[in-house]
Symmetry: C2
Subunit: 584 residues, 2 copies
Amino acid sequence: MYRNSTCGELKLADENKIVTLAGWVSKIRKMGGMTFIDLRDRYGITQLSFNQEVNPELCEQANKLGREWVIMVTGTVKERSSKNSNIPTGDIEIIVAELTVLNASQTPPFTIETETDGGDELRMKYRYLDLRRNVVRQNLELRHRMAFETRRYLDDRAFLEVETPVLIGSTPEGARDFIVPSRMNQGEFYALPQSPQLFKQLLMVSGFDRYFQIVKCFRDEDLRADRQPEFTQIDCEMSFVEQEDVLTTFEGLTKHLFKTIKGLEIPDFPRMSYADAMKQYGSDKPDIRFEMKFVELKDLTVGRDFVVFDSAEYVAGICAEGCAVYTRKQLDELTEFVKRPQIGAKGLIYVRYNEDGTLKSSVDKFYSEEDLKLWAERCNAKPGDLILILAGETEKTQKQLCELRLEMGTRLGLRDKNNYKCLWVIDFPLLEKDEELNRFFAKHHPFTSPKPEDIPLLDSDPGAVRANAYDLVINGVEIGGGSIRIHNSDLQKKMFEVLGFTPERAQEQFGFLMNAFKYGAPPHGGIAFGLDRFVSIFAGLDSIRDCIAFPKNNAGRDMMIDAPSRVEQEQLDELGIMLKPVKE
Amino acid sequence: MYRNSTCGELKLADENKIVTLAGWVSKIRKMGGMTFIDLRDRYGITQLSFNQEVNPELCEQANKLGREWVIMVTGTVKERSSKNSNIPTGDIEIIVAELTVLNASQTPPFTIETETDGGDELRMKYRYLDLRRNVVRQNLELRHRMAFETRRYLDDRAFLEVETPVLIGSTPEGARDFIVPSRMNQGEFYALPQSPQLFKQLLMVSGFDRYFQIVKCFRDEDLRADRQPEFTQIDCEMSFVEQEDVLTTFEGLTKHLFKTIKGLEIPDFPRMSYADAMKQYGSDKPDIRFEMKFVELKDLTVGRDFVVFDSAEYVAGICAEGCAVYTRKQLDELTEFVKRPQIGAKGLIYVRYNEDGTLKSSVDKFYSEEDLKLWAERCNAKPGDLILILAGETEKTQKQLCELRLEMGTRLGLRDKNNYKCLWVIDFPLLEKDEELNRFFAKHHPFTSPKPEDIPLLDSDPGAVRANAYDLVINGVEIGGGSIRIHNSDLQKKMFEVLGFTPERAQEQFGFLMNAFKYGAPPHGGIAFGLDRFVSIFAGLDSIRDCIAFPKNNAGRDMMIDAPSRVEQEQLDELGIMLKPVKE
């Protein structure tokens, strides 16, 4: 061992101990005849002290060190004259007697500090240096702890972690699979799993009763800021359970993580139906850290010849507390915000409820103050508040109003990252209609169970069927989702029928699961959490990227190792594949 | 919840409780007016009892159930009249009051029993039913527990589990990579990792200090019985350590697993140099559950005109205690055994040390009884023992004698699966020479550190350089291996030179690691355990396959889901690849 103590543990109580430390030179300061070095390892920083008068040779050696050199020192723990209360080891320093250089370092391309001068691309290319920064490493320590506590909680409750295969078969449904050519079975391909869905259901058929796995999954989609081609799920499944059992178990897990990791006691999670979430927040993952619910106003706005509202399917507003004082400029900013192409509203109507009780709106031409008063009443607005109104096609406008609501929440400081609000969204619709293709798709996946009372609707009104499906939402981010599965093969057949699968195609794609279900499938259900997002929420990060050790960029490229890359022709030959000639 | 108790927990103390159970119908027995059902779940079996006289309707319903149907019952716990001491619930039964069929089952293609009538192929095809068998499920429960205890032990010692990427770049060295075409970067490929070696070393450069990961790795090799294209490693790395620190930490892990999982206290592991292992056991993974070490006899055999020995580079024997009584037939069997093509010996010489003190050999024509006596003395043989001798080229003969030794160990019952002997094999050679190509290859991998005292030999006698490399061997099975790494870029350059890499090629393949090493790499080393084999050893299995939930067969095929398989032309088009036309 190159050390007998770490850089994070020595205290005044250790005074006069002779210790050996090893780590990286973080800072060198020369003051008078003294040289001070901040020695850094994963556990902390300890000050090393060299005295020009006492040991000129050693001090000279210390002066020659550079940033990020790796050294080993032996010395005596002494109380510092000027203490640093910001770090746990700030009361002491090491009077160094021996210094060994374990490795030199070139000057790193950016500073290894919490606030670094390195840009995003540079930090990704030198990720191994970026990972030296406390802030980045702490995210990964948090990730380790969350995964570990998840395992402990589930193990305590008789869940078994079972590894499911990574090399599986391709399923043409849904997002794109990554595929892997097989050398031993030429012309054939494995696929990488988008989730272990089928395998976990098979494990329930096998009587495993309670399964979980923290597992890499893969999706070959065009990447957005918050997506990675490989991501990690906490994947879970239980037998002989109903929705309530799954919610209880995993609400417990979430509370356990908040408690053990952040020391927070989270009260029981409220539940909201999908229908209510859409109606009140315009989103299936509402941020309930603040209210500002949607208020429908259509009926109060008709008959005043305002064509925008009269012709709109949907008119609704939100009430921003205390914002009547917003300036013209601020209101213009909000109008610009909703008109951005990503949001796409045509305009924004406002009603100022002034402190003096008067009401002023951008549609005064059409509406009297009494009209506005009625709107304000329905919005529960009081003097000093601002009502913001959007109108148009229902779903689109709800989405726009949702964005506006979030923007207002941010502006009003209502979205504190350290304030955690958890929510179950339940009663999702079973099916989603693709109007263009005029067919239904499974909202969750084709094994999701409809609510028993809605089964008759499968024939008469498939779009109205609700599922035993649920999402866990924290602060407006979908952290997990799951469902009770269909365990009855007749119902499963029916479901495939509604989804427009021929029996042949259903057999081809899901045959092994459907066959398995013939041999005694128990009632079962489960949930999967996105670990990357879960950690991001705990870490207060905006992107999942910084809680992944070696992430890929938006082009799916690992900048550090420069992958993907070309391979040798020989390798392709062995696999029996060729590159398609590039078209000119 | 479909139950309030499991099938494994009810005892006499629960008598008169009303309980609800759910599970699979394992057995139905009719006796007189009674019907008994063994209801099975993951936790055990509980007897259900139906009385024709008391409740004829319910009994009728029970009589109609079939094997593997899934049912839910409510009833009262009662003491059994005829107890079954073989199962924990054997004192009680449930007098059923209500019975609900949750799912019917077709008759399974084989019996769900420890001793099943299902052949290997059938069981693989219906793996989800095979997994219902106690023996198979118990292996996976063991696997869960070993992984969990491994994490607990390492977490306690400040190791962080860090996920490294699965989609990486291809490295042309060593065994074959699986590759994954990139849609977003056409013509380029990701590769699946054969191990996270480079990433874990980068994490050490990043100052992570102690890393581990239980991680899937991939190798596209032709499969032998004990290989799978995807396998799981317990991958570990530590900074600021020497070989001794790694051995201590992971001997500790191994002891922890034996203790917490099997209740066994394993004494400190002996250590053996690679050279001694080869000399005494002809293997770098000797089974030390029994002695029977090789004894070299060449010098005692020369000059007696026995051309087989005289012309042999190597003559050595093993002493099989108490086997002088072996019959002609038994000796012929052994001769056949060593002559099998997989072993390839030309013949077997034996010396019987009879109980009466006389010696009798198959080479009496050439050697006197005094000669044989000298051999026997060197072999520490006593009356009643049998000496078995092979001769030929050193390495080949050692391998053959190793096989013979193991065969004798098995015949003599010296290889009890419940007797665990752990061993560190150390001081592996750094390099291995490919005589045909006349170049050296890294025995472990190109980042393995030579022993400091052997570095000068890198120029003069590379083959003699020993590495700071080590293997953990349990009962003759290599469970793990690792090394101290090179952290000095000059030494790494030297190593690539010895391995015949041009600087350009080294840069191309390992550039990002070599670059990383320029920024202050700490001394570091690690180890990786094969989890599949580790579990197999604990489970007493001959193959790793039965401790994997969904294994592949020897052709790399998953028989259950029928993967790999053909994919749609559209998918290939999108990836920019084509299948090579099959040659006629």
